[in-house]
Symmetry: C2
Subunit: 617 residues, 2 copies
């Protein structure tokens, strides 16, 4: 029973039911004696006593030791009546019914006295103590098979929004999976409370009202997420306001994100409406709901989980007038943790995947400077920080290397090549993936060592080539073979964003055709930010052609017309080269296994003669 | 489903099943347009477009936006065919079927493109990732309702020893409760594995053999504790050796504690015999068994729980030739954590109650110096470190103060008055309870400010008085009324240890009788170390009388003959006075509530005219 109490909180003070030890017991194997019988006993002047019996562990001996007598005794066995000390077996010699003692003992020697450790009635654990295995041990030792703990509060969770579908279903067009329901439920359960995810509610007053009304009668707390923005006419606000007295207490907090958070009390239950975007919902939960649940659990509001101290990786402007909660990604560097603010948008899964925790910026602060020390509250105690930090351009080739290596706990921050170079400059990335094209020499990466002043401070390791080309629908119905086909009126192109290596390649090739692309290429102004977005647009018929690396044609089952290759390299700061996870990464990159598997696993990829070699330093 | 995976470990790499966003979607409320329709639009040079319909969240719009047209669109709604940007509602004005646009947009503006966040096939989570709520969010968002996780290993636990009883029973004489069974079970479950505590086995080869044989066929791992010492003839060793091939791999490690640890493999299962003392068992489990279980869980062996860096509070000698694991108690001071080595014995509950973690001292080291930096591995992730540290003499009066205060997470280290003074000197205690008697002046505590050179560095706050006297059996059958009754031949006395305040009081009073106590007082050489041990000895008939404070007569239902009072004060280092938990402690000590409750709750206790006042500084 008691072992099931781990993580629960003691509802009462607990006192010892038994003494520890519960009887005077021997701390050694030897002979129980009257200590004054041994006075003066030495190696060459021993004392001989008569053995009258023994005391074994587990029962009270019936014997009584008188002057001139001894009883053999085991460690943990009760001290027989009459004796007051134990001679260690090492200082004795048994001969038949006699024992010769070679060392004197003082009263109480080698005896653990009743209650000398813990006594009956001792306050051993205080109300409010969180039970860990150590407390299980203390409770058991002091005679407690059961203890009173605080009841687990029960919390109902709803997600609201017409666009939401449960992840158990197949995604319908125009819909997204509900992320908050399962996520918030798991956050609550991780805290030790009970949570029921009661499903998705439409943005409809009557449905919301009746389901929430029902839940209020059965749960201690109701949490909703979504439908709190102004666009939905404050629907959650109105529902909460009408459930019962006193109604809404807080609406529209001066915080970002979380402004639309609604807090109400009705029929003695707390109702809280969280923002809809997952990262915002998690942060608002952590910052506002967790303290309430902790209180219901009998815990202190300060027990709200792990924090680490870090330095902000770059300056953020927050502006005054609101408290800001900035999601951050933590990267361990020699100088401790660097906290990278995440600006992918709180609706983005990539932000969610990278958010280790958040930094609270008080209302009076306008900005937090680069390098400023910040407290990062982690989003979960189950969250593991990374052993290998890869910041820069992402590539499935990196995933293959990780797979082939010892699979360190790897964090990949996909911020593009340029930001990767900056992270190496600051020494915060272990490795940066890069495919920057120098348009003067039409070579990749090497020339940028000079530009970023990294000679002597970083090494550039040759990676591999990735084939890129035209991506078109399966079967290539419009017979697109070359850049000049993009000039046709029946071809809709999807471009890439300026600054990307692929865009440089596109513009270079269109330049050779001596035309004005904006007027002559349909779709030239529609820019996708990733290879994948290009492939998705072609796949869904939103465009007829785009330029991307070959692997995405594969992923989206499209046709591919090769046009060239680009080189993807790895930049590593000097001080990170000896890090075991970096060494392992390089070992795999240089292995024959990688050379064999890369082209097989990733269509259009190939190693190069100098793969794994340092090409600049 | 997926929300139940928290704490589990991914058995496979996970890739995205859906794009995020799964369609091009608006990031704002406004109007979907063709961006070139808005070129040049400004506040005083607006553009007017015809509204052809709307795109709402949750479904794909049927409309197509042509030149000169716009569609109203909500945040999160799909971008209609033909449009490539969204004008925020703030920069528009609707008039009937027309909308006037006051700001231009570039292609893609306010549009989140399909897959721009995460694309189908993206490796989103790697095998071996521990699932936290964040991962639940990522898995849900990328279309995973279920994921493959590593199976929970199942572990059988036995406790061995004839002296053990389950805590669910009433304690029989000579027995102790089995602590390790429930404790080890809770440690395993806290790690996320399954554990069955299969009960207590006697120190008997055949019983051990048949029960363990049976468990090997049903569990992944067998853990026993106890019966590993030499005294039991290596019984666990022999059992493990005979279960199957290859048998015992390790026996008798060069570690302290844990020397008797036995490790075997039989029929492909691991069998480990842990030491019997709870603290030793917990440390051996944490150091040797946890890494194995982590591996079975699919986790890294480095994930073995929280660690803190601290400074050793005093020098410990370990000697070479064995690796030592020193249980420590952690105290937060201004200089960080101080780690107090615990020497109460690994069988002591008080050691168990205080053990926050342990320090590993490598074989080559002979000692660890005072102030040396040490890594402390915590025994549990549920373990909470203390907000208020009270080091010194223990007293139920302290418990009452804590109960009446805000119940901070309090750690009490009961090391006696003298060690409390030293802890204040080092600034590691927040408060030290003290009742040191100066025999020259027969006053308590104040004179020691000089002796410990604490004037100006600490304050001594007056506590309360505790009545002490003779403790005798109920009804006082031997009519013991005074110290002179201790001289009677039919009276067996139990003394206190030298250096205790009570011993000084005893010797002072016996001195007045002008006798040689060793020869004239029966039991004078039998020294108890605590008030409780005195009361227990009288209660169990091992002595007829002793001197203790009155409250223990109460606790053991004994008679009490008052002989005087002692004063219990509180010593506080200057730098700790402003700590909120210390201020709260003093507030309660000075409250009328405490004055009223102290004599009612604790017989023989009373406040003094100067209770709560600073009596020395």
């Amino acid at each position: 029973m008691i072992e099931h109490a781990v993580g629960r909180v003691l509802a009462n003070d607990v006192t010892a039911n038994v003494d520890s030890p519960p009887f005077d017991r021997s701390e050694v194997d030897g002979y129980a004696v009257r200590s004054n019988n041994t006075y003066g006993a030495e190696e060459d002047k021993p004392v001989t006593l008569r053995i009258i019996g023994e005391s074994a562990v587990g029962r009270i001996p019936k014997i009584e030791v008188e002057l001139g007598e001894a009883a053999s005794i085991a460690t943990g066995a009760p001290i027989p009546r009459g004796s007051n000390a134990v001679v260690m077996i090492e200082y004795s010699k048994k001969t038949g019914e006699k024992v010769t003692i070679y060392r004197s003992v003082v009263p109480g020697e080698n005896v653990a006295q009743t209650g000398s450790d813990v006594m009956v009635g001792d306050l051993t654990l205080k109300r409010g103590t969180v039970i860990s295995p150590r407390e299980v041990g203390v409770l058991t030792a002091t005679g407690h098979f059961e203890v009173a703990v605080y009841r687990k509060p029960s919390i109902a969770i709803f997600s609201t929004g017409n666009e939401l579908m449960p992840v158990s279903n197949k995604l319908e067009p125009g819909k997204v999976f509900d992320v908050n329901g399962p996520t918030i439920k798991s956050m609550i359960e991780e805290m030790g409370a009970k949570a029921d995810y009661l499903g998705i509610l439409p943005d409809d007053y009557e449905s919301l009202r009746s389901r929430i009304d029902d839940a209020v009668s059965r749960y201690d707390m109701i949490l909703t997420s979504g439908s709190t923005s102004a666009g939905l006419g404050d629907m959650i606000y109105r529902v909460f306001q009408n459930i019962g007295e006193p109604g809404v207490l807080v609406h529209g907090l001066r915080i970002r994100p979380g402004k639309p958070t609604v807090a109400a009390v009705a029929k003695g239950k707390a109702l809280i409406g969280l923002p809809g975007f997952p990262v915002s919902a998690m942060i608002a939960f952590s910052a506002f709901v967790k303290p309430l649940i902790l209180q219901l659990l009998g815990l202190k509001q300060t027990d709200s989980g792990p924090e680490v101290t870090g330095k902000l990786a770059f300056r953020i402007e927050t502006g005054r007038g609101a408290r800001h909660y900035i999601p951050v990604n933590l990267i361990e560097s020699q100088a401790g943790y660097a906290a990278y603010p995440l600006f992918g948008g709180s609706g983005a899964i990539s932000t969610l995947a990278l958010a280790d925790g958040y930094v609270e910026v008080p209302e009076r602060k306008e900005f937090v400077d680069e390098g400023e020390e910040v407290q990062v509250r982690l989003l979960s105690r189950n969250l593991k920080l990374a052993e290998l930090n890869i910041i820069g351009s992402n590539c499935p080739g990196i995933d293959l290397i990780i797979e082939l290596s010892g699979r360190p706990n790897t964090k990949q921050v996909n911020v593009g090549s340029t930001a990767g170079w900056k992270a190496v400059d600051k020494g915060e990335a272990d490795i940066a993936g890069t495919h920057l094209l120098d348009e003067d020499t039409m070579t990749y990466n090497i020339k940028f060592m000079q530009k970023y002043d990294l000679h002597g401070r970083a090494i550039l390791v040759r990676g591999y080539s990735r084939r890129h080309g035209l991506i078109v629908s399966k079967g290539n119905p419009k017979h697109i073979e070359d850049f000049k086909d993009l000039l046709r009126k029946n071809v809709l192109f999807i471009n890439r964003n300026k600054g990307s290596g692929t865009r440089a390649f596109i513009d270079q090739n269109l330049g050779k055709l001596d035309i004005d692309p904006e007027n002559n290429v349909r779709g030239y102004t529609y820019e996708a930010r990733t290879h994948s977005a290009v492939a998705a647009a072609v796949s869904q018929g939103r465009a007829d052609a785009g330029i991307a690396i070959e692997i995405f044609a594969d992923a989206y089952n499209l046709d591919f017309i090769p046009l060239g290759e680009e080189i993807f390299d790895f930049l590593i700061p000097k001080q990170k080269i000896d890090k075991p996870s970096v060494q392992e990464f390089l070992r795999v990159l240089r292995s024959t296994s990688f050379v064999e598997k890369l082209p097989l696993r990733l269509r259009g990829y190939n190693t190069l003669p100098d793969t794994g070699k340092v090409v600049a330093q």
